[in-house]
């Protein structure tokens, strides 16, 4: 039984290489066709995400098994990338290491953001695609199905996936959703532009926010941001009006002095009434004076340091769970390995038993034909013969089981076949 994975990921290869070696969804059928054509007896699963490109191979026998170089050459030929440019970035794992690696990947222990939930769906999708294209087989089925179960177990028995670890997700998930029950009736005001504001808006949109107002000192930039996030441009000169209207304020200008001081916002609050307002000050330096937060009980102001502190706490909490997750993975790897090897020895054990019981059956038939007076003790005699066979078979089967703990016992299996003249079915 041969398991192998050849991969590159965010630990081993830079983004440029990963982009060149990645398989788009449209390329997957073609990739499986090429792999099957080169190695028709092997099972394949290709897992391609923005952080990793992995090719899993499994084969029952060891004849004509694809090697590390074969898979590397496949990458080079398929993507038309010179082998020398990425060969050192590829990693190969075989045997139990493949099982362990896949379990870690599916449980998001190998992800860039520890505990992120998307990877399980990506593994599931890769496996489903392999099944759709008849590339997966009994071994990869068992491996991937177990990986998905292990990921679920890790998720339920550890808090690895709990606590958000990106600024935007903490802002919306840890704070916004604890203030507001819903966002579809809220007005979001974006002051300035930037990647973090865009990401925060994405989370707010996912939470249901519809009404987005965008304002900026530079109208062109406001228009660009509004186009990107589907918002409405508002003149910067009327900022106080938009501040009155907004329930959620996301600001990223980093202006000096701060854009909104305590007095200015007090006037805004006098006009807007005491509705709760959630302010995400993502500007460096801050756009809102910190004392704005003390104006009244319904002003919730968070700056980037506040959000980063929560992210760090959550990251540390997740790291504390890694050991526990690794223990689960180790236990599951061992269990899977043992099951896999026992599965390999299963057919030979069955044949050995059938062979011996067949001989016993023949001998008993002959015996009872010759000595009919033994018929009345037939049950007892049959039981004795069965026990005799079981006792004779016990040492070789025990040896086979012991050997199977460390891998498929090809040598012993061949020896048993030869000794007892068990022919392949």
């Amino acid at each position: 039984m041969n398991l192998q994975v050849v991969y590159c990921n965010h630990h081993t290869a830079n983004l440029g290489i990963r982009e060149r070696l990645a398989f788009s969804r449209a390329q997957i059928p073609q990739a499986y066709s090429a792999l099957r054509a080169a190695f028709p007896r092997a099972e394949w699963v290709v897992l391609s995400t923005c952080n990793r490109i992995e090719v899993y191979t499994a084969q029952d026998d060891s004849a004509h098994v694809p090697s590390h170089q074969d898979v590397a050459r496949f990458f080079a030929d398929f993507h038309q990338v010179p082998l020398a440019e990425f060969f050192d970035d590829l990693v190969e794992r075989t045997g139990p290491d493949v099982v362990r690696h896949l379990f870690q990947v599916a449980s998001s222990l190998d992800s860039m953001v520890l505990g992120e939930p998307q990877i399980v769906a990506q593994v599931k999708e890769a496996y489903a695609l392999a099944q759709d294209h008849a590339a997966a087989g009994p071994l990869t089925n068992a491996l991937f199905q177990r990986a998905l179960k292990v990921a679920k177990r890790v998720r339920s028995e550890t808090t690895l996936a709990e606590g958000r670890v990106s600024i935007a997700s903490v802002a919306v998930g840890d704070f916004g959703k604890r203030i507001f029950d819903r966002f579809d009736d809220k007005t979001v005001l974006v002051i300035g532009a930037g990647e973090m504001a865009a990401e925060t808006l994405r989370y707010l949109r996912e939470a249901g926010a519809n009404e987005v107002l965008v304002t900026n000192r530079t109208l062109a930039r406001a228009e660009q941001t509004a186009a990107e996030c589907g918002g409405r441009v508002c003149p910067f000169e009327q900022l106080d009006d938009w501040l009155c209207q907004a329930d959620v304020i996301v600001t990223t200008t980093g202006a000096t002095p701060p854009l909104v001081n305590r007095d200015r916002f007090r006037k805004v609050r006098q006009r807007s009434g005491r509705k709760p307002v959630f302010i995400l000050d993502l500007g460096v330096p801050r756009d809102f004076e910190p004392s704005v937060s003390d104006l009244d009980d319904d002003v919730y102001l968070y700056c980037i340091d506040d959000l980063e502190a929560v992210c760090e706490q959550n990251r540390q909490a997740r790291s504390g769970e890694v050991e526990k997750a690794l223990e689960i993975i180790e236990e599951e790897t061992e269990k899977f390995r043992s099951e896999l090897y026992h599965r390999a020895t299963g057919p030979i054990i069955k044949r050995l038993r059938d062979h011996h019981h067949g001989i016993v059956g023949d001998e008993l038939t002959r015996l009872f034909a010759r000595l009919p007076h033994l018929e009345r003790d037939r049950a007892e005699i049959e039981r004795s013969f069965e026990q005799l066979v079981n006792k004779l078979l016990h040492p070789p089967l025990e040896a086979l089981r012991d050997e199977a703990r460390d891998g498929t016992p090809h040598g012993l299996m061949n020896a048993l076949k030869r000794l007892f003249r068990l022919h392949d079915e």
Partner: protein
Amino acid sequence: MHMLHVEIICFLASYLVAFVLELGRLFGRSSISRFVMVGFGVAGFVAHTLYLINRSQQTHLPPLLASTHDWMLVLAWVLVLFYVFLTLAQKELAVGVFALPVVLALVGIATLLNQESDVIEVSAARAHRAWAMFHTASLVFGMSAGAAGFLSGIMYLIQHRRLKGRHGEQTGLKMPSLARLAQMNRWAIMLTFLFLTLGFASGVILKVIASEQASPVRFGDPIVVGSLFVWLCLAGAFVWLLSGQASAGRQVAWLTLAGCGFLLITVVGLLLVTGTIHSRSSPGSSGLLDQRGSGPGLFACLQGGIPQWPPSCVAG
């Protein structure tokens, strides 16, 4: 129908275990611990229900009319019903951390209250029974809404403090959003006021119906005075809410906490005092709880309402 024999300790212990498990979940969550916790909560609820049914069969009265002890257990039962429902519906919420201590306190207090109910010739009181049920049910619902308001007020203030303190969401102590809690607070005040008012009104009607047999109205009764005071406070809070002056969620939370907390402390405290010391020290007296062995006459005693039912009084 043969019912299982259930003691208070059965469900009290179940709720206690569920509470301990709920506290344990503040430090680490797992689906197993949740399953066990919910299991104990539901088991306690079932035992609690069986106990109330048994009591009802023994006294031949609905639990609301049987005794102060039963009445208090019905109040706890309603809270457990909410707790079980919310815990099953929202697995992340730590409702039990707040609700179960109140439940445990109510069940604990119930064990101190008079369990004996009078032998009431119900046939003689049939005309009043519907009103009495309405009266006591209104009071229990009012108290339940008050208890829910008290809990949501506490949750609001904790959530608000954590948000203002810029603390991230704690794994074990997930609570509803401030908007949801503020809404719950407003509803709690309105429902408490509404049901207590209905309780008062039905008490007056009971008094009118039974006026021929009425004992003198005891305006100096501590329960009457205390309850009337609470009702007036809630009326004030209700008017304040309706007038729109209480726009800040935190003010409403404090108001709910104070109003509903005061209601619980006053009513439960007075019942505890009058339902134990008073009734035991002067058997046969005409005090509300002795006459009836029943707490629901909380407001009815103002009008001398429920006391008109029993032609005889075993407790005396």
